[in-house]
Structures are given as C-alpha cells and as structure tokens.
C-alpha cells in the first residue's frame, strides 16, 4: 500500500512540475525536502501540490484525505517535509472504502 501511495504522490509532483520552470522542478526522490528553507515549494506551489496529491490519491486508491487542511502547520510538524514523510502520514490516516 505504501508503494502505491508513494507513486500517487510522485505523480502529483510530476503534475505540479508542469507549471514550474525546468530548472526549478521538484525531484520525485522520497527524501527531497519539499518545504522550508531547502524545499522547492512556495505557498502556491504547496497548495497546488496538496490538492493535486488529494486528487491523485483519490484516483489511484479511491481514498479521500484532506491534505490541504495540513498546509498551515509549522515546517517541523508538517507531513509535507518530504514525500517520504507525507507517504507515512497518508499510510497511517488513509481510509480506503
């Protein structure tokens, strides 16, 4: 299940990358920082990624998860630190119908 989650999140990153300059694209490596000083996503990028990730998870796994409600959390607490941390969060909170 975690692999499927990671694939959906990576697909979301690729979709978001279509709006970004070639030299500012986010790596799909699970450990790449997404937010904070070292992360590549600004506030709009994070919103786009969070909503796109929800859509991808819904489409791939049929699960409904409100990731966008986590956007305001501090960097230290946020599941959006890396793809790996987000996949862990999703795996523990997912409710597949």
């Amino acid at each position: 299940m975690r692999d499927a989650i990671m694939q959906a999140l990576q697909a979301a990153i690729e979709e978001v990358n279509e709006t970004r300059p070639r030299n500012a694209r986010i790596s799909t490596d699970p450990n790449t920082p997404l937010i904070g000083v070292e992360g590549g996503l600004d506030s709009l990028g994070l919103v786009n990624f969070a909503v796109t990730a929800e859509e991808q998870l819904d489409s791939a796994l049929g699960c409904s998860l409100q990731l966008s409600s986590l956007i305001g959390m501090s960097v230290a607490e946020s599941p959006f630190r890396t793809l790996a941390s987000l996949a862990d969060y999703v795996a523990t909170h997912i409710e597949v119908p």
Binding site: E15, E18, T19, R20, P21, R22, S43, L44, V47, N48, A50, V51, T52, E54, E55, S68, I71
Partner: protein
C-alpha cells in the same frame, strides 16, 4: 518564435499556474517568451491605469481572462438569486469592453477569454436557466455576444474559453484551489487553456500551419486499395467505420474551405489511387481538392520535401496525417519541422482528433484564404505552361501579368496587415504590426504603405505585395518589402522596386535604401536584393534615383491613387 516576446496576463484570479503552463509550452518549442502576471486583485485598475507597475515594461501582447461575476456586477447579483435587468448587465459589459480597448492601445495585440461559466454553479433558477433575461446561462450568452460585438474591429480578439473548460463542472472548477489560492480552475483545464492560448499567440506571429498532407490507405479510407480495389474500400454506406471516414474527409474539406491546403503522400500506384478518388461514389474529396500529391513507392519524407518545395512553403507549414505509427515516427525523425500528430488506431476517432489540432487557427479569414486551392491550381497551370517555353523571360512575357498598386486605405488594411504578419520568405525586415499600428505608421509625415494586386491570364492572385516607404531628408528607406511566395519570381519583385524608386523621386529623395534584416526564413529576400541591381553596402542595398529603375517589360503596371 526566435526573438524574446513579452506577454502580460491580466486577470481577477490567480494566474500563476496558467503562466507556468504557458512558459513551459513555449519553452518546449525553443521559444524565448516572458510571461508576466498583473496583480490579480486590481483588474480594472490595471486595464485603465498605465502608471501601474505591470505596464512599466513594454509588452508585445496581453491576455485578459476574467470570471464573469467579477467584472459584471449585475451578473453577480443574478447568481445570488436576484432578478436583474439584462440591459444593466449588458451596459456593464460595454464598460468592461471600453476598459479593454484602453489597455489594448498599450500592446500590439490583446486576447480576451470569453466567459464560459461562473465559478460557482448556478442554483437560482433551475429549469429557467435558458430563459432570456432571467436565466444565468442565457444571460451569460447575451453578455458574451455583447462583448464580441463591442470588441469587433477593435484589434482585440476573443478566445473561446468554452474549448478549455469542457467537462463536468467538478473537474473543470477546483473549489479547493479557489478557497486556498484563488485559482478557480483545476490543472487539466489550465493546461488545456495554456495550450490553446500559446497556439493562438504563435499563429499571430505567423506560425499557423497551412498544409495538411494525408496518407490514403486506412487514413483517408478504410482498407488497402491495391489489395481490395476501390469498390471494396470502407467509405460511407451503412457502416460505422465507413461513415467515420466520410466524416473525416468532410473535416478536411472544411479545413480547405478555411484556406488550408490539402495534399496526398501515399505508398500506392498513382493511377489506381486517382481512379479511386475519382470513381468512389462516397469520396468527399476529389483530386481537384488537393494542391498536389506524391503517390508512389518512394520514401514519404523525400516525397514531402519535394511536395512542400513545389508549393513554395516551408516544412514548418505542413502537418502529416498517417495511420501507420512507423511512418509517423520516420517522418517525425527525418523532418522535425513537420507536425506529425499522434493518430488514433480507431477510425471512429479520426474526425475528433482532426478537430483537436489547434495549429490551423488564423487571426483573420480573407476571401483569398477561402479560394487558396484555386489559386494553387492556377499556379500549377502556369508552371506546366512554363515548361513549354525556352526561357523564363519568354514565359513571363506570355503571362500578361498586371500589377495594380494602390495606397493603404480602409478597404485593404485588413488584408495588408494579414499579409505583413504571415509572410516570412520574401520579407525584407519582417515587421509585425497590427492594423492600427500599420495605419498609424502610414499616417506619419513622409511614410506611406502601398498594396500590390497581381493578376495574369490564368487568374487573379489578389493582394500579394506590400511596400512600406519612409522619405526623410532626401533619403527613401524601404521599411516593408513583402511578397507572397505565390507570385515570387514573376518580376513582381522588380515592379515593387520600380514603384519604390519612382515614389522616392516624386517625393524628392535622391537615394533609396533597403536594409535587409535576416531571419531564419527570409533568405530568398536577400537573394533577390543581391541581384536587384542596387549597390550593396553590407546588408543595405542602395539606388541613386538619378537613374531610372525600369519596370519589367513583362509586367503591366497600373497605379491607382485612391
């Protein structure tokens, strides 16, 4: 697009994602385009106030995309369930149109997206949606029509946003993105919009495709002609597949009506293929609908190169449609400038796929566009005739070429601007100007623009040449020397130069100069000037008007003063 292009996007919502898609669309095609978003909370001010930061840089063009409820307050009230007078909504549309026209003066061109739907689905009137003056959908249609009418002939072009926003509302609109970032649309809709808008911008710059080259077997009709005979092809009849091929051909015929040229490149025996095209009762397209064909067993890439050369077009004007993925891959690799779209395996999807190609969009449609195939037919007759003469000079004399020159005026402005903006090969300086810019330039002291109509005993080629001349301090500078490739090599070039030198002398100039600005495509123009008889000073060609530059004997020149 080789030069940097600056585009300003004005909207009442957050267009950062749209701008990202647009930048990447251009970048993938190797174009340098700077896309800037104006602040999205201040749309009307940004349209009206030239002192705003977003106008501090000169932009070539602008795109305006708004939500209808944001710019038409009466429409917002209607969405809230109030009854409003349609006249009030339409008056507000007029005000918006005025603001657009004010902003349009700061750029060379402006695109405005039509209003496809409000951000929030309408709840108020249910089955009365289409009731005039009451329904949201009916009001929106009236508003779009009013905006279209208000912008007619203003130089502002409306784009059909309905093409980008088709599909279930929940997929097109993204409530989450709106509430979190003021982006009303989902990524798929924005990607579609960016692709369409980028194509419209490229087409404005003269990059629209002009020629569709089609394969025959399993593309134009179902089946292999050589194996099955024309009587057994799947085309028309009470057959889903046959019907789909007929619809595909009707789609190609519709493109032809809009001035797109059709041609055939197919591995077949020519005589058999032409017989099928002539005799099959359900063929929509007959041989005379095509400007040329290469039906043989040679390499298709080589055939296409020859055919395109014969039609005096560039490879980047051509689109190649073929059901065979091998042939498509070969073409895409051998001739990367030719557009080779992915083609579905299922013939039932051919017509839809053809309709999805945006590469044919034109900024304007002229009568000559609609008759272009006929014009090429005439050219074929001329070329066939040319072979019968020993020398080109002799052949030209028999053509009875008449060149009529007239000054720029309201009756020819649209066609002159269209020719100026789409001609690449025989174009001295490749100036791209809107109708308004061209008109303003021609009204300046010492400046004049002249349109050239060409005809001969085979028919009229129409308005095919432009001369832009500026006379100052005894020197006449040729700003525009433009000729359609349809009449290249028929002494019309020399006739335009004769007119330029004559006008220069009449205007008191002693020297005429033409500075050649190279582009990737205007090599033929340099070749003409190098043998024009003008003295060469680097890239500038010079003539002293003390000497007469004779009008070619093969041409009868008619000058019209009005």
């Amino acid at each position: 697009v080789s030069a940097a292009l600056r585009v300003l996007v004005l909207s009442d919502f957050n267009v950062d994602n749209l701008c990202g898609y647009l930048r990447n669309d251009f970048e993938e095609r190797g174009a340098v385009v700077e896309i800037t978003a104006a602040p999205f909370g201040q749309l009307v001010r940004a349209l009206l106030d030239e002192s705003m930061d977003c106008w501090s840089t000169a932009h070539d063009g602008a795109l305006v995309w708004t939500l209808p409820e944001a710019v038409v307050p009466s429409f917002a009230k209607l969405l809230d369930g109030h009854r409003v007078a349609l006249e009030d909504a339409l008056a507000e549309v007029q005000s918006f149109a005025q603001a657009l026209k004010v902003a349009a003066k700061r750029v060379k061109w402006m695109y405005v997206a039509s209003w496809a739907a409000p951000r929030l689905p309408s709840l108020a009137f249910g089955s009365l949606e289409m009731q005039p003056g009451i329904g949201v959908a009916a009001t929106l249609m009236s508003m779009n029509l009013a905006l279209c009418e208000a912008l007619r002939d203003s130089g502002v072009t409306m784009l059909d946003a309905g093409r980008w926003l088709r599909g279930p509302s929940a997929e097109v609109f993204s409530a989450k993105r709106w509430y979190l970032a003021k982006v009303p649309f989902g990524n798929a809709a924005l990607r579609e919009a960016a692709s369409d808008i980028a194509e419209a911008i490229r087409n404005r710059l003269g990059r629209a495709r002009k020629l569709v080259i089609v394969d025959l077997d399993d593309t134009m009709w179902g089946g292999i002609l050589g194996d099955e005979g024309w009587e057994n092809l799947r085309l028309g009849g009470h057959d889903a597949i046959g019907e789909a091929y007929v619809d595909f051909q009707r789609g190609l015929a519709a493109l032809k009506q809009r001035g797109i040229l059709l041609a055939v490149v197919s591995k077949n025996t020519e005589a058999i293929a032409l017989e099928a095209m002539r005799k099959h009762p359900e063929m929509v397209l007959r041989p005379e609908d095509f400007v040329g064909w290469r039906i043989n067993w040679d390499d298709k890439a080589r055939n296409i190169v020859e055919l395109v050369k014969e039609l005096r077009l560039g490879l980047d004007a051509a689109v190649f449609l073929d059901d065979n993925p091998f042939e498509r891959a070969r073409l895409a690799e051998a001739l990367p400038d030719v557009l080779v779209p992915d083609w579905p395996k299922d013939p039932l999807l051919y017509r839809t796929t053809l309709a999805s190609l945006r590469c044919f969009d034109a900024v304007a449609l002229s009568e000559e566009d609609q008759e272009r195939t006929k014009l090429y037919d005439q050219e074929r007759s001329r070329t066939a005739n040319r072979d019968a003469f020993a020398s080109v000079e002799e052949w030209l004399t028999t053509l009875g070429t008449v060149v009529r020159v007239e000054p720029l005026d309201s009756s020819n402005l649209a066609r002159v601007a269209q020719l100026l903006n789409k001609t690449n090969q025989l174009n001295l300086r490749t100036r791209r100007m809107t109708e308004a810019e061209l008109s303003r330039w021609a009204e300046q002291p010492g400046c004049s623009v002249h349109a050239f109509h060409v005809s001969d005993r085979f028919g009229a080629a129409g308005l095919t040449g432009i001369l832009g001349l500026q006379i100052r301090d005894g020197v006449a500078t040729i700003e525009d020397f433009v000729l359609s490739c349809r009449v290249m090599g028929r002494k019309v070039e020399e006739t335009i130069v004769h007119v330029a030198t004559t006008l220069a002398r009449e205007g008191g100039a002693t020297r005429v100069q033409a500075e050649y600005l190279p582009t990737k495509k205007n090599g033929p123009c340099l070749a003409f000037w190098q043998q024009s008889g003008f003295a060469s000073e680097g890239a500038t060609f010079v003539w002293e008007t003390v000497a007469d530059y004779a009008c070619p004997e093969a041409v009868k020149l008619e000058r019209s003063s009005t």
